[in-house]
Amino acid sequence: MALTIYKSSAGSGKTFTLVKEYLRLVLLNPQDFSRILAITFTNKATEEMKHRILEALLQLGQGEKSDYLALLATDLPQFNEQKIRAQAEKAYDLIIHNYSRFEVVTIDSFFSKVLKSFARELNLPLTYEVEMNTKMALKASIEELYRDIESHPEIKQWLTKFSFHQLEEDKSWNVDKNIQQLGENLFKELFEKGLEGDSLAMNDLYELLNQLKKQKANYENTFIRLGRKALSLIDQHEVALADFSGGAMRSVANTFQKWTQKNFELTNTFVSTTRGEKSWYAQKSPKKDAIQGVLDAGLLDTAQEALAFYESNEPEYLDAKALLKNMYGYGLLEHLHGELKKYRDKHNVMLISDTNSILRKVLNQADAPIIFEKIGSHYKHLMIDEFQDTSDFQWQNLLPLVENSLAEGNEVLIVGDVKQSIYRFRGGNLNLLLRQIQEDLAVYYTPETERILADNYRSLQQIVDFNNKLFEKLPSAMAQHESVMDATFFEQAYKGHTQTIKKGEGGYVSVGFYENEEYQENIVRDLVVAMKANKDLDYVYSDMLILVNQKKHVLPITQGLLEADIPFVSDESLKLKSNLPVQFVLLLLRYLDRNADEVLVLELIVQFQRLQANSLLQAAYTDKNSRMTLKDAGFPAAFIDKQHELKQQALFDLVCELLLIFQLEEEADLYLQQFLDIVLEQSQKGKNSIASFLEWWESEGSDKNVSIASNDGAVQILTIHKSKGLEAPLVFIPFADWSIQPSGNSEFWTTQLPERFKKLRFYPLTFSKNALINSSFEDAFYQESAENAMDTLNKTYVAFTRPKHKLFVFSKAFDQNTSKSIQHLLRPIVEQMGGKEVAHSDHVSFTFGEDHPKPTETDVEDNEMEVKDKEMEKNSVLKVYPKVSFLNQLHIRNDSNRFFMLQETSQAKAIILGNQIHDVLSGVVIQEDVPMVLQQRIQSGEMSKLTAQKVQERIHRLFEQPEMLQWFSGGYEVFNERILWHEGSKHKPDRLMFKDKEAVVIDYKKDKEDEAHKLQVQRYMRALKALGYTNIRGYLIYVEHAMLKEVNYA
């Protein structure tokens, strides 16, 4: 059973299975835990898995009840229960005492570890940080692109042409947005892969561009010419367009006019008429003869010429148009890519996307052993979770490890669910799980390799039933969609989706289809009703989860909830920047950074007053000459007068000082707390100036959310994408009317280029059926649209499988003409599922099962949680606010008195030389030590070479004294700056020298003689006496004047 692939479904206990498999391996051989690499996708998943493994081992080891026991007993028939428990205990102890070897890791952290260990081999900076903020990097790179254009005339030219092109097309001449949008792709691995190999030189690209333009113009001009010709013929024969078949509105001859108006479409009627399949005029038309006359006079020829031209040139024309659309932006990407590289070097960062692509270039199947050596771990078994979210590069990088493992006969365990693959936009490729893996690991595939986890432990019966039925039909319905060609893709992906109910009876599903224009309001109305009704059925608001497809749908919902007084949390309400104290601090920073304009001051004052629950707006009732100042507004003097001082603080300190000054403690809560945490984190990353922090904030920080531990009593609103992996008793999906294909201007990249454009390698096309059908990109279009449809299908699957008890879906009743959105597929299926159908004034609803009160939880998992909650003391609340301005309270070492030592001015020199001589002498035992001590001072930066020389000269002069020579010649036992303990206090003479009972004590002094010096030495002498020395002499040495003074014993 070397290779096992678990195909899971929503709520099928995927993590449970993984944990069980992990346990099986470590119970078999506890030491093996250090040789299992378990890979998950998110930190959260890692944590959960680690936690579950440890908990299970502990429970088993301590003889407690465990869900895993029975299963493990089956898997390990050679062990009895006692043995299992003993092994578990052993494994647990091994793990907690060798925890670094317990490798349940995210795929990103694992590969970044690998990359770091090869930093040198790959010529990467060693201390790089991983930059998540690609937006900022991109923006900076675009800026650089511009700044450099003097030295790159071809880029300048290109940019100018780009702008002109935009002007021609009546679009903004400012092309930044455009470049930015395309530039986002630089962070995607598809791009990396697509653009491998030689790039097209700018000049060649330019040539191609002109060629395409010419081609396009030629095509269009031909039609304009033919159109004009036709119109003038018609005119000459005194016939009107309306006289032709079809009449005024739909005249077949209107086509000619449209060409002259730059609409180059050929209607079906026109084509068939030209081909002679239809008549140009109604048989009863009075103008019949005249029209026939025009036709004979050349109109028919013209039409046929046009048709022939169309038939032979349209595909190429479409190609040209499609390519031209993005060519200007495309042309800059390569350079932008270069700028990004420079950005990385300059900022010493790796972009989050870099790891996988760099590794992919160097890793090679043969490299698993060397990876192991480098990171110091030799893995036997591998486990990979959420495989459907793996990207191509990630898989290619994993492959050497996987193959190594399998080749050595170890176990590889892969878990994933194609149906829950919704991260294609981040690089997740469901085809890996669907087919690729089977190809790549064909040698290891056996009939047992693939297993299906078919149980559902999450949802009650009605939910599971509903989804079983729905997803039986929805994939094939999706495959019928007009833009999809390949049905097997969908069938394969949803094969084996049917789940067995494990959770129990009950559950409820309601699906409503809403008519008419106000459907949104009506849905919100009914949403609120449903929530309130469930509140009466013992549910609490925190049991409820609202899923939306797009962020923009949140607003109407929150408005409804606000009106109905239902508490909620959404991403938007959790934005850090929505909090007043945070805003205020940011304003203060902005003010300090840039000094204010009037608007900023006004805002500052108003926010300041709001913080004091004072909503008077006096500041706004002013004109130019009477503006309210911060002082007028009552800002503390500590702020107004000390701005300069404040700015002199590092960012984190500054923010704390501001908080201390403004005393916002009352208003402070988790928003401000997390803001402080962010400031701390950012200053740790080197953003220490206000400006650099604000720059970061603008590009990224302002998107930051607070996270709250428990949404006590509040409904949660999430996008479907963020709900993956979550569950809730009640799930509401208002606006289940998402479109199947992306709207408007979305782009996709393709390598499927016709031969003559192969050099472009990888190219962005605008996703549009009209523009691409019949062009060379038709296949690429269909492929993309199938992928899009799969995304939509999976999104639907994820959304519908979140509920534990009840699901409420609100959708739009469809209008007949289009089939672009999901409700067109949903409705027919739901109608046939045999639910209860009820027609309401503005909608029709289908319900499944009976609505019921909240069931009391019986299953183990939930119970356990509750018990644990009780065990733990109720969560305490912490309030964060700075208390004290520490720099003023804490002593920093007063080393700066030695500042002089750094100086070379003549005045400074005179004062400091004495200090320095003293300092050097304290390190000297015998004369020969002097050069070494000096050397050391130079190296530590405290002395320049020049100074050292001076010091040496002085010391030399000191040694001209015969006593000195004697003392420093090695005949004495020497103690420099040694502490004497005498009469309960410390004494620290500069130099003590002993020879038998003889003791000499010396203190070095800078300049001027002083009575106090003498007293000090005398104290030392008394101390020596107390220590039992009889022959004691004391000296003062004035280093500046090289003078020696004996001190009498007193």
């Binding site: 944590e47 040198r120 700044r147 002109f164 009546d170 480098k374 300190d653 303990w981």
Partner: protein, 950 residues
């Protein structure tokens, strides 16, 4: 101190009798850290303070080794420079900044090789000559297996790129080791390992003149091989006593990685002294706190410490241990220090200081300077961080504002060095620019400037901390300059990187009486110390123990074979320190971050798991786990703003009334502001709040509008004459020139400065736009220009309570064609037009009053109204949008003349609007449509979402 148990240091002191005191001066006590020595000294004096005696020598192990060898450990930077010289001699293209980081690793590898007395030659040869090694040494099976693995690697026929690189680097590292050490020796320099190895060698020889009578090694744990040899030699010579501090049960339990080392030493030196805290018997309370993020950990730590003090604990017995150093500053802010003394054995990070920032921005400036025609030119963009740094404004407080003003008024994106010197007319500041542009010059300038800042602060007795920062900065910089000064070839960019690297880890120490107050320290500072109350912050996996690092060029397997430490040893060392720290503690708080935000994974330290398993069930241990959440203030902010028309407001609005001071018109734009949002109208047009522009680094949209207007005005100067096709052809030829003139006049281009960067493109765009307008006009010839920027038309409304309200504005262009007067407005942006087919006059007008989307049309209609009072021609209103030039000028009502009926209808609607504006009963309110707030500069005030970040 501790009543129940003695600290480690007290236990040592307890072994000394009064009779031993006189001998102490000849003895030497060695501790792992300096701080350990201090605590020992304190314990010694506490016990024997009533006697007179000379203290023994007390060393940290590092000081000990230096003292014994009489040599000094050279600072890392110097060592790196020497190493770099050797490497760059082999590879000329090697840059120091890239070398810096991995040079450190090589250095550490060398250091360890020597500390562990490994045979460097073998290590580095091992990959090359792996076969011999195999039979030369009698390795055990594990090692054999490792070596076999390496053999397979090296013997691979087809080596992957990665493997080749790996082997190549390996070879290099090995080749340099010997010569590097030789070179250091010659220069009397040394890294730590060299001294350890040499002391180990010295002591194993017969003659060694011992400077001390006896040695005491106290509180060690993991010994390097050389330390082991040193200790062993001294123990064997009966000159040393070893003191180990470890729980017996840790020692006895082979599972405990904390005992791994000492278990070995127990066997090796059976006569050593073991202090067994027997901590399982001590009653303890252990609290594990799961806390959200960092700040909250700081709060809790402070809270716990104060609790202990309030319960009567001595501050000295209480330690806050920071497993993550970055927690220091937050903790200090969260600790109410006014009441309690704090002793901090950590430092303030240099790179967080503003002085560091200052120097970086200054260097950045010079590294980006460009040369043109012998002049140095700065980009305003690069100047900004420098000018806004607080240190720049020490002698010139308003430097940023005044420069900002200057740049703005002159539309500057670039500045010449000579100008800058002139402007920064403060001696200290201009001296920063009056320099030779190389490192030497820059270094001098920094030195001089910071010195004067230092004295400036000193004189005013201000900013003691800053003075300290400057001192430390300059001290380190001097050190660096010693090297940099000798390498004039280094580019400034490189110098900057080196400085950045160098200061990355430098800390400015705090100082206080070491054994007074609550003790705050990093985890490793706790070595040999004991506290009654221990609070550990950041007890997260990944921080405690510190994250596993693979920074070495000696791969894991070979490290094992050659007895070099690996991360496993590292973990065991942490385990020892952690367990030891808790041995004698009675109250323990372990605080960890339970969220997965920032650098946290939310995982509690393994040591917590270990403790829990070992202690939780003991009756004398009170074990408690707790989680915390953040305080949450659910108050919702009401951001509604309403401005009632108070007397004051009415008075402000008086400026648009005839006869009042100010002499202002209500402009079409201000009226559309009102339609968009009454509050916006109030703030902008009544109260007149004006947003200062940021410095324009490049020409932006506003410039484009201005310039295009001006150029067209310039070209169409001649009023009232017919403009012909030939005229326009002539204009077209002049565009470039006029454009240039206008940009000069508007100070967008400075004399003798060229456009650069983005402006080059913008210039072309403007030219293209003008050409397009002209092209369109050409098709329209002949026509007669009747007015350009005409602003002499007015319209009045008599409004109750207010008076005669004046409307007016400046009309971009009026021309006459075929007797029709055409009013044309140029728009830089996009203009939307009513698309309804054949609307009635009423619909037409309604739309323009309701939806700000059609503001161009509205404004055009106001102009038409203004003009219609004076002129009798038929009127047309057109808008030329620079965004829609291919369509030419678009005409309201599809180009039909605006008839009188429409205009009077419009007029009466307008009057209603103006009445509303002046109606005292109707306050100025916020628009309900948030879309309209998108680009509004008051969005922050209104708490509306906006494209900008605020």
């Amino acid at each position: 101190m501790l009543e129940t148990t003695c600290t480690f240091h007290q236990l040592i002191v307890d072994r000394l009798t009064t009779a031993d005191l006189p001998d102490l001066k000849k003895q030497c006590f060695v501790f792992p850290t300096k701080r350990g020595g201090l605590f020992f000294q304190r314990a010694l004096l506490q016990k024997h303070g009533q006697h007179d005696f000379m203290l023994p020598t007390i060393f940290s192990i590092e000081e000990f080794v230096q003292h014994m060898t009489g040599r000094h450990i050279t600072d890392e930077l110097t060592l790196l420079f020497v190493l770099y010289e050797m490497y760059s001699a082999r590879d000329k293209s090697l840059a120091f900044d890239t070398f810096y980081a991995w040079g450190k690793i090589i250095l550490k590898d060398y250091d360890e090789i020597d500390r562990y007395l490994a045979d460097a030659k073998q290590i580095y040869d091992s990959l090359q000559n792996i076969k011999e090694i195999d039979h030369v040494f009698g390795y055990n099976d594990e090692f054999r297996e490792i070596i076999a693995r390496y053999r397979t690697l090296t013997e691979k026929q087809e080596k992957t790129k990665l493997l080749t690189e790996f082997l190549e680097i390996w070879k290099q590292v090995g080749l340099v080791y010997g010569p590097y050490k030789e070179k250091l020796l010659k220069q009397e320099k040394a890294y730590g390992g060299m001294l350890y190895r040499s002391l180990a060698e010295l002591l194993t020889q017969d003659h060694f003149e011992h400077p001390f009578a006896h040695y005491h090694f106290c509180g060690f744990n993991a010994l390097s091989k050389s330390e082991e040899v040193i200790f062993d030699a001294l123990v064997k010579g009966k000159r040393a006593t070893l003191y180990w501090d470890i729980d017996q049960h840790v020692l006895d339990d082979p599972k405990e990685e904390a005992g791994d080392f000492i278990r070995e030493y127990r066997a090796k030196w059976p006569n050593a002294i073991f202090f067994d805290a027997d901590s399982l018997k001590i009653s303890k309370t252990i609290n594990v706190h799961g806390v959200p993020q960092n700040m909250a950990q700081g709060v809790l730590a402070a809270e716990r410490a104060l609790d202990y003090l309030n319960q009567g604990a001595e501050p000295e017995e209480t330690a806050i241990v920071l497993a993550d150093e970055k927690m220091l500053i937050p903790l200090l802010y969260l600790m109410p220090m006014s009441e309690h003394k704090l002793n901090v054995t950590m430092g303030y990070p240099m790179r967080s200081t503003v002085v560091f920032d200052f120097v970086m921005s200054y260097l950045d400036l010079w590294s980006k300077v460009t040369e043109r025609d012998g002049e140095s030119i700065f980009h305003v963009y690069d100047l900004r961080p420098f000018l806004s740094n607080a240190y720049t404004s020490v002698f010139f407080p308003a430097v940023y504002q005044s420069m900002n003003e200057l740049f703005k008024s002159e539309h500057r994106s670039r500045v010449q060095l000579s100008e800058l010197k002139e402007w920064l007319n403060v001696q200290a500041l201009s001296a920063l620019f009056d320099i030779k542009q190389d490192w030497g010059g820059i270094y001098q300038a920094i030195n001089t400037y910071l010195t004067s800042v230092f004295y400036h602060f000193k004189e005013k007795e201000e900013h003691p901390a800053d003075r300290e920062f400057i001192y430390f900065f300059l001290k380190s910089l001097n050190q660096l300059n010693d090297y940099l000064g000798h390498h004039p070839d280094l580019s400034l960019k490189l110098v900057k990187k080196i400085i950045q690297e160098h200061f990355r880890s430098i800390k400015i120490p705090f100082e206080g009486e070491p054994v007074e107050g609550i003790q705050v320290m990093g985890f490793l500072e706790t070595r040999t110390l004991d506290f009654k109350n221990v609070i550990v912050v950041s007890a997260n996996e990944g921080k405690l123990p510190a994250a596993r690092k693979t920074n070495s060029y000696i791969p894991f397997g070979l490290r094992k074979v050659f007895g070099l430490p690996t991360f496993e040893e590292q973990d065991a060392i942490y385990a020892y320190h952690f367990k030891r720290l808790l041995q004698r503690a009675e109250h323990i708080d372990l605080i960890y971050d339970h969220t997965s935000m920032g650098d946290s994974k939310g995982e509690e330290s393994r040591f917590i798991l270990q403790l829990k398993r070992q202690l939780q069930h003991l009756s004398q241990v009170a074990w408690q786990e707790k989680t915390y959440e953040s305080h949450y203030n659910p108050n919702q902010l009401d951001a509604t703003i309403t401005i009632p028309k108070t007397e004051k407001v009415m008075q402000l609005m008086g400026k648009y009334v005839e006869g009042n001071a100010g002499n202002k018109f209500l402009s079409p734009t201000s009226l559309t502001n009102y339609i968009t949002c009454p509050l916006k109208f109030y703030l902008k047009n009544v109260a007149g709040f004006y947003e200062q522009d940021e410095i324009d680094e490049d020409m932006d949209a506003r410039h484009i509008g201005l310039v295009v207007h001006k150029v067209l005005e310039n070209l169409y100067q001649r009023l009232n004459e017919e403009v012909t096709e030939a005229d326009i052809t002539h204009f077209q030829k002049r565009v470039k020139k006029v454009l240039n003139e206008v940009m000069m006049a508007q100070r967008i281009i400075q004399p003798n400065q060229k456009l650069t960067g983005r402006d080059l493109v913008t210039e072309q765009i403007m030219e293209q736009m003008i050409q397009k307008v002209l092209q369109n006009d050409k098709k329209d010839t002949p026509f007669i220009i009747r007015g350009i920027e005409a602003d002499d038309y007015e319209h009045h409304f008599q409004i109750p309570y207010a008076g005669k309200v004046r409307l007016g504005g400046s009309i971009d262009r009026m021309d006459e064609k075929d007797g029709v007067m055409r009013i044309i407005d140029y728009k830089t942006g996009k203009a939307e037009f009513l698309t309804t087919k054949n609307p009635t006059d009423e619909e037409f007008i309604d739309k323009h009053f309701e939806d700000p989307k059609y503001k161009s049309g509205f404004q055009g209609l106001v102009y038409a109204l203004l003009v219609s009072n004076t002129l009798n021609n038929p009127l047309k209103v057109g808008i030329t949008s620079m965004r829609n030039l291919s369509q030419g000028t678009k005409w309201l009502k599809d180009g039909a003349n605006l008839d009188q009926a429409l205009l009077s209808e419009f007029e009466s609607r307008l009057e209603v609007l103006v009445r509303e504006i002046y109606d005292p009963e109707i306050p100025f309110t916020q628009t309900a449509d948030e879309e309209r707030c998108k680009y509004c500069k008051f969005a922050g005030l209104c708490q509306r979402s906006n494209d900008s970040a605020f």
